[in-house]
């Protein structure tokens, strides 16, 4: 009997204890979850100050958003008549409803911030650069996947705050659809497709609901998996490149490390992990990396829950197409775009270009295009890969930081200096009616 129970316990629990280092490294390769990691990582990759753990935190936030999002789907009906009252019920009737919605909302806000900071980290360390030493390495591809993920994150936030169908939602969708409409030639067609008609109504809500709960999360999951796999294929984090460089200088050759067969899905060689060639100063992913990720997950989750206890997710008045709030403000991460569309109307004589086109399509388009092309415009050598503020990249880092500062300044102007009728007030002045900042 006891023997049977012991056997059952063995079947139900993980009893694997590696006896050698070789066995430990094989375990990482064999395990489905740990397969994301290489079996060994360099101390630089593990360094908190190199990555700031921003990618890890993004994934945690995404996971939390998926879980709380599914919970919210049980209580929300994507109908113009019921959406607002469903959210009101979540806030006032459902047990722990405000808490679950609060977590969802604050995690979404934090995710926009963390994903953006992650992009900044990758730019400032030059981790997107070409010229990696691993076989099959092409870091720009992962930079582009990352940019798409940033856009998906922004779109998820946008579609998310449309769903309660309160004042913020309808006026945000009104402004968004009009920006889409201001695109030349195809704008009106795109706006028609996004609205599902000529006015903002049930079709619009349903479309954005499906985008928020199915299309964008699915796309996000696929991109995240691809993003993680690309890190392996590129030979690990950017920080291993300098070690590989030293190694080449010392030994003159790079040996193929462990490879993973892809069964003819990709051409050329299979991904080889260069960090295997870097002898010394490496640690087994399990337990060093897994333990670190658990710690980061725990601390982030505790901080997130702490904020969610204090912070209350906003809900404005029910949607009304007749009276817009004054001023009508987007959540903070879109305020710089709102400030741009309000400031960039160009008048040359009787000829006028709407700020909706300049600030809503042209400027963001140019920023995205510059980011996409940057790996080719960046002329600094491979020695700048994976180094914070490398001296060869001083100018581009300065321009990048200045752009970010302009965006932050615009967000500040939008949130703290714009009163009713979008009038400009100095921070120390008070405007007639205080608007909500989020």
């Amino acid at each position: 009997m006891i023997e049977k129970l012991r056997k059952l316990k063995k079947q139900l629990t993980w009893t694997y204890v590696p006896e050698t280092e070789r066995e430990a490294s094989d375990a990482v390769v064999r395990n489905f979850v740990l397969h994301w990691f290489p079996s060994k990582v360099t101390s630089k990759s593990l360094s908190f100050l190199y990555t700031l753990e921003l990618g890890t935190i993004s994934i945690l936030l995404f996971a939390i958003l998926l879980i709380t999002g599914v919970l919210l789907m049980f209580m929300y009906v994507p109908s113009v008549g019921q959406a607002y009252w469903g959210v009101k019920d979540i806030e006032y009737v459902v047990s722990f409803g405000p808490f679950i919605r609060g977590i969802h909302r604050i995690a979404a806000s934090l995710m926009v911030a963390v994903v953006f900071l992650h992009m900044m980290r990758v730019f400032l360390t030059g981790a997107y650069k070409k010229g990696g030493k691993a076989i099959g390495s092409f870091r720009p591809l992962n930079w582009w996947i990352g940019l798409t993920l940033l856009l998906v994150t922004m779109l998820l936030s946008y579609t998310g705050y449309l769903l309660p169908w309160d004042q913020l939602a309808v006026w945000a969708v009104t402004i968004g659809m009009n920006i889409a409409k201001s695109a030349p030639f195809i704008g009106e067609k795109i706006a028609f497709l996004l609205r599902g008609g000529t006015i903002i109504d049930q079709n619009t809500l349903l479309r954005w609901y499906v985008a928020h709960v199915v299309l964008l999360p699915l796309f996000g999951v696929i991109l995240i998996v691809w993003h993680m796999w690309r890190i392996r294929k590129d030979g690990g984090l950017g920080s291993v490149e300098s070690l590989a460089e030293e190694r080449i200088v010392k030994d003159k050759i790079v040996q193929k490390g462990k490879t993973y067969s892809l069964m003819g899905i990709v051409t050329g060689a299979t991904p080889a992990i260069i960090s295997h060639n870097v002898q010394g100063d490496t640690y087994f992913s399990s337990p060093q990396l897994t333990r670190r990720i658990l710690i980061v997950f725990t601390i982030s989750a505790v901080i997130l829950l702490g904020i969610a206890f204090i912070y209350k997710a906003p809900l404005e008045a029910p949607a009304s197409m007749i009276i817009p709030p004054n001023p009508a403000k987007a959540p903070w991460y879109f305020l710089w775009l709102q400030e741009l569309v309000a400031d960039t109307t160009i008048r040359i004589g009787s000829f006028t270009i709407s700020g909706g086109f300049v600030g809503g399509i042209l400027v963001p388009g140019v920023l995205i295009l510059a980011a996409v092309l940057w790996p080719f415009l960046d002329k600094s050598g491979p020695e700048a890969i994976g180094v914070w503020f490398h001296k060869n990249r001083r100018l581009q880092n300065t321009v990048f930081i200045l752009t970010v500062l302009v965006i932050i300044a615009l967000i500040f102007v939008g949130s703290d200096m714009r009163g009713p009728y979008w009038k400009l007030y100095m921070p120390w002045q008070t405007w007639p009616k205080t608007p909500t900042k989020f």
Binding site: G196, P327, A328, G356, K423
Partner: protein, 181 residues
Amino acid sequence: MSEDKLNKNDYSPKLEITRRGFLSLIGLGFLGVIGSLVLQGFSAVRSIIPNVLYEPPKKFKVGPPSRFSEGATFLPERLFIINNNNEFHAISAICTHLGCTVNLAQYSPPKTYISRRTGKTVDETFEFHCPCHGSKYRENGNVYAGPAPLPLPWYELSLAPDGQIVVNTDKIVDHNFRLKL
């Protein structure tokens, strides 16, 4: 001798598929796959473009002229009916910048300004202000401040047989238009 033997092989050449034939078959199959993918992609996108809309009509009655007192009256269909000595016209309340609903700003005593085009002094009792990005429109819908690129459009008005005013938001008219009673 040996050549003869080779030629006398008894497999039928009719069953043989040439390299060219094989490649064209593969090519055709590939085209078929691409074609079906394109067709499915097109049908997926086409299916979400609605063919029928259940939206309120663009041409509707707004009530008898007596409903509108002197000056501008806001209607929930997002437009203003302006009664000027029993001459009516309709101005859209949708800001031409990004589509917010403009507010009516009323002035008494009337606000005086000098017209940039004619140089004359004009008195006006109301204006339209957009709360979203601060566009400002004159009494006749012309923009004078803020990011709006175009003046507020005027809609066509007509009189129904039952004496009610009919607005057609699909028809834009110029600033000379008046519905006289």
